[in-house]
Amino acid sequence: MSVVETAGQVLRDGAFGHATALSCRECGHQVALGPFYACPECFGPLEISYDFPAVTREEIEAGPANIWRYKALLPVPSDIELSPNMEPGFTRLLKAHNLGRELGIDNLWVKDDSTNPTNSFKDRVVACALSAATELHAKVFACPSTGNLANAVAAAGARAGIKTMVFIPANLEKPKQVNSAIYTDSLVAVNGNYDDVNKLASEIAGEEEGWAFVNVNVRPYYAEGSKTLGYEIAEQLGWRLPDQVVIPVASGSQLTKVHKAFQELIKLGLVEDKKYKIYGAQATGCGPVATAFKAGVDAIRPVKPDTIAKSLAIGNPADGIYVLDICRETGGAVEEVTDDEIRDGIVLLARTEGIFTETAGGTTTAVLKKLVETGQLDTSLETVFINTGHGLKTLDAIADKVGAAATIDPSYDAFKASGLI
């Protein structure tokens, strides 16, 4: 097999598919493909540039029922299916009849990513990061996380047979620790909050050779995995784009990648060019992007998160300014909801559609409702919202809100007396 030497690493031909370079999103400076994430000129985020081949709908439809059906559009090799991985994606797109009726939206869909292998959308991005780590000959597959990402990294690493190292805040709830520790013997509890853990991960990535931190030094590859949400929504709607999409915002990466996916599909001629609006959903306790959107400013002021939506609790969102650009350009908005509204959103989605979402999905559902109530969302247009994770991961957030409607003796009389019928 022919090899190319890029950035001091010997890479096999086609290691990153049709990716050609890493390009700075801020200043356009290009660097060779490798374990790099920050522009050496301006610190801006590096993104994958491609030279896409012609791709047809038929070729995609003939692919596997997971994200690798879009492998030609991802920074992965053409034989990616042969490497042991979690095979995430191609999750269901459900018509949300009842919730649509409840909110007064004529044509509403939910993209339910809670059905991924470790029950969140993170399996998509981690699968792309795992491919990059493998091609870069990484020895350790790692991440800082408070939950979903840790689960996905630990599980994917176990399946791929690569050593994992997962860093979490030491005060993380026990069930969340177990959810990751079950897959790895290297769960590291750090005395500090998530931002402290993230900082430590960046420092380790800068010191240790051969470590692939999925959301740090292989982040450009990792982040591309979120594009598959956009591809799937379009394909599952019958190869067309929706009119409106509502997406949760933590770092802002997923929202920007869904937009990128839609634009790529248009450029490749896989869907008809049309206008669509993108909306971002945040929690009031960590809503720096929503705050900037409403204030009409470009600068995002970091905050100290204080919300039950832990998976959205990034106080200094790296892609926040791009979220502002996209939501403003497309005519969407970034909205925020309180913790009580988030809990109500979790219950609303469960009771109307039978989908138990985690706090991030509760945030998105509640924001969808608020966008309707405030007239920011057009209820006559086809609308998709994304459920990014499963409610069993955040039981503590909802445990006090739902429970037995009655406690009765085991007799028919007692049941009749309960007032439930």
Binding site: F43, N198, N215, I247, S253, A313
Partner: protein, 92 residues
Amino acid sequence: MSVSVRIPTILRTYTGGASEVTAEGATLAEVLDNLEAQYTGIKDRILDSAGELRRFVNVYVGNEDVRFLESLATATPAGTQISVIPAVAGGC
């Protein structure tokens, strides 16, 4: 007023490959000036043309992001650990 500064990978071309260097200064601004005097060109990588911290660079004094402190005016007592880190984040 000697402090220790952790240098990110992308700036180590300025420090001869060193990942940690010492510098002088009572505030972060003074420390950056002192770094510039030692490693010409490094300051322009951390600050933008308006003299503010670049949007995608995080600077920590101790374990605290200086954007939560006094930014460039943040005090840097002797022995302080300063870290310069590219901005990244997890989540969606």
